[in-house]
């Protein structure tokens, strides 16, 4: 059999992608479909009987107060964590961008937490925010303040976790913001300065609009990541004597709920239903954010 040059190229193309395509079908696509299937069953891994229950798992979830709590907390993680981490990162990027010397040092310092083990720093955080003996409370009392309950408090624990997430994500966001800022031509600022525009006006009329695609990228990335928060919650408020979801489940995130339902309580059907809700949220948010934020740049 003789192949044309085109035919030969196509043959090699299929050979090159065969294994990865097989991988995606077996390890990604089939399990995705299977997850939908599990969510429609009452699925206990220890029991032979796995009856089809249609949407009962979803109904159970929406009646479950702990699930509602987890959803509410996840909304908090996203709506507080994401804007804060982006605003702080943008401020740091703007400050670093003004430096002529030493920018590299600060970039490195702010980037450090991003490359370190999430589990390790989560435990450092837990130690620092201990109610008794933790260094933060010691600093507060040294300055004459009153010690805070932090991780023992239903109100404060979630903010301690959010602070950890922000601290660790600043580096990545800052680097991307600096890259975005560097792409804005200096002449725009020079020209507008001659026209008498203040730095404040320049920020809103030049920096922000031209940074739009960077902002969209970071908002989407940060939102999707924060929706999936698990490791920090598990380690800062769980383990040992703690309840993984913090006091009265006040830090319980959606993914931690999934973990507990599926792997602690063996309710795989219920856990799968919860992952499908997470999946739907991720898709909806991605679409909304892309539409909403790309529109803004047009006027």
């Amino acid at each position: 059999m003789k192949l044309t040059i085109k035919g030969r190229q196509a043959m090699w193309a299929y050979i090159f992608i065969a294994v990865p395509i097989l991988f995606f079908i077996l390890i990604r696509i089939a399990p995705t479909l299977f997850a939908f299937n599990i969510s429609l069953h009452e699925w206990d891994i220890l029991s032979q009987d796995k009856p089809f229950v249609f949407f009962d798992n979803f109904k159970t979830l929406f009646k479950d107060n702990i699930f509602k709590k987890a959803m509410g907390n996840t909304v908090k993680y996203v709506f507080i964590g994401v804007p804060l981490q982006l605003i702080i990162s943008l401020c740091i990027a703007l400050l670093i961008n003004r430096l002529t010397k030493g920018a590299g040092i600060f970039r490195t310092i702010y980037f450090l937490p991003y490359v370190t083990s999430t589990v390790a720093v989560a435990w450092v955080w837990r130690w620092m925010f201990m109610k008794q003996g933790g260094v933060i409370n010691q600093i507060i009392t040294a300055f004459g303040g009153t010690a805070q309950p932090f991780l023992d408090s239903t109100g404060q624990a979630i903010y301690v976790v959010i602070a950890n997430i922000i601290w660790q994500s600043i580096g990545f966001n800052t680097i991307i913001f600096i890259a975005g800022l560097k792409q804005i031509p200096r002449t725009y600022y020079e020209a507008s300065s001659i026209d008498g525009a203040s730095p404040w006006i320049q920020f809103w009329k030049i920096t922000i609009p031209l940074l739009n695609s960077t902002v969209v990228y970071l908002v989407v990335m940060a939102t999707i990541q924060t929706l999936q928060v698990f490791t920090q919650v598990f380690n800062i408020t769980g383990g040992g004597q703690g309840n993984p979801g913090g006091p009265v489940n006040s830090t319980l995130s959606l993914v931690l709920y999934i973990y507990q339902a599926g792997f602690m309580n063996n309710k795989m059907g219920l856990a799968s239903a919860a992952t499908i809700i997470l999946f739907s949220i991720i898709i909806i948010i991605t679409i909304i954010q892309l539409k909403f934020l790309t529109k803004k740049v047009e006027y």
Binding site: K6, Q9, W12, A13, F16, I17, F23, F24, I27, R28, I29, P31, T32, I92, L95, L99, T100, G102, F106, I109, Y110, F111, P113, V115, S117, T118, V119, A120, V121, W123, V124, W127, M128, V135, I139, A142, W167, F172, I175, A179, G180, Q183, Y189, F230, T231, F234, N235, G238, G239, G240, Q241, V255, Y259, G262, F263, M268, S272, T275, F279, I282
Partner: protein, 271 residues
């Protein structure tokens, strides 16, 4: 434009922020060197520095095995991802074949699916095929990545076709064209992908904590989390563990920091 003024205000603000970024590391290291009641002392400098906590951690846990496991898993995954993702990215960028659009869409569509949705089916696979407590159970989910394929395709598209045509006329095989003509031109992108993949797998927690339950096969994050849970309240031990887990990565980061930061620039701009 302003004249070359030193932006003192910026430097002061950045320094204050910088202290907040670095302090947790200093506190971690400081606590790991302390002992007894000194652990609860606010001073950063230990009264009497001792490596006892490190000795305890290394002697009484399988920390070194966990470290080795993490290195192995992250290393193999990275090599596999680099090979497959560059090859597949190149194929979609530069070769013509039937079904190309559909297959690319198929791969890209998997990016929308969060890992959490897959772990339950994966867990069932692991049980069904008896992979429990094997390295393979940790490895198989990450052997190629859709993100990497997308990224590499973007970069290969920037290579002029003439160059590849010339290699074809020179008689290189299709794989030879990819390997010798195309790959050297996207090296920065490859090292960026390597860094992301390695860091991601080095830090992975959700799947490893589910997939393995034998201490021999824990990865570092899993071992550290479970050890810290047990050693709870012996903070010098917990912090010694955290330090051992953190320091090597910091050293690697300092060596490659230029590359790492460039890599993030690169992927951020293409992403």
């Amino acid at each position: 434009m302003e004249k070359k003024k030193i932006p003192i205000g910026s430097i002061i603000l950045l320094t204050i922020g910088g202290v907040m970024m670095v302090f947790p590391f200093l506190w971690m290291f400081s606590t790991s060197l302390k002992s007894g009641v000194d652990i609860y002392n606010i001073s950063l400098i230990p009264k009497k520095a001792t490596f006892d906590a490190y000795k305890y951690v290394l002697e009484n846990t399988k920390f070194l095995s966990w470290f080795k496991n993490s290195l192995l898993i992250a290393g193999i995954t990275t090599i596999s991802v680099l090979f497959f993702d560059t090859l597949v990215g190149y194929t979609f960028a530069k070769l013509e074949f039937k079904g190309k659009k559909f297959l690319f869409f198929l791969i890209l569509s998997t990016l929308m699916v969060p890992t959490e949705m897959l772990i339950i089916p994966w867990y069932m696979m692991v049980n069904k095929f008896n992979w429990i407590n094997t390295y393979w159970s940790l490895l198989f989910p990450g052997l190629t990545s859709a993100f990497g394929i997308f990224l590499m395709k973007q970069f290969f598209e920037g290579i002029p076709n003439d160059l590849l045509e010339a290699a074809r006329i020179d008689g290189l095989s299709e794989f030879g064209i990819f390997w010798r003509a195309a790959v050297p031109l996207v090296k920065p992108a490859i090292s960026a992908l390597a860094i992301f993949t390695f860091l991601g797998n080095w830090n992975a927690f959700l799947w490893p904590v589910i997939a393995v339950d034998s201490p021999e096969i824990y990865t570092l994050p899993v071992g550290l989390a479970l050890f810290s849970g047990e050693a709870y309240n012996q903070w010098n031990l917990v912090m010694a563990g955290a330090t051992i887990a953190t320091i090597p990565v910091l050293i690697v980061f300092f060596i490659f920091q230029k590359k790492i930061i460039e890599g993030i620039h690169l992927t951020g701009l293409k992403g």
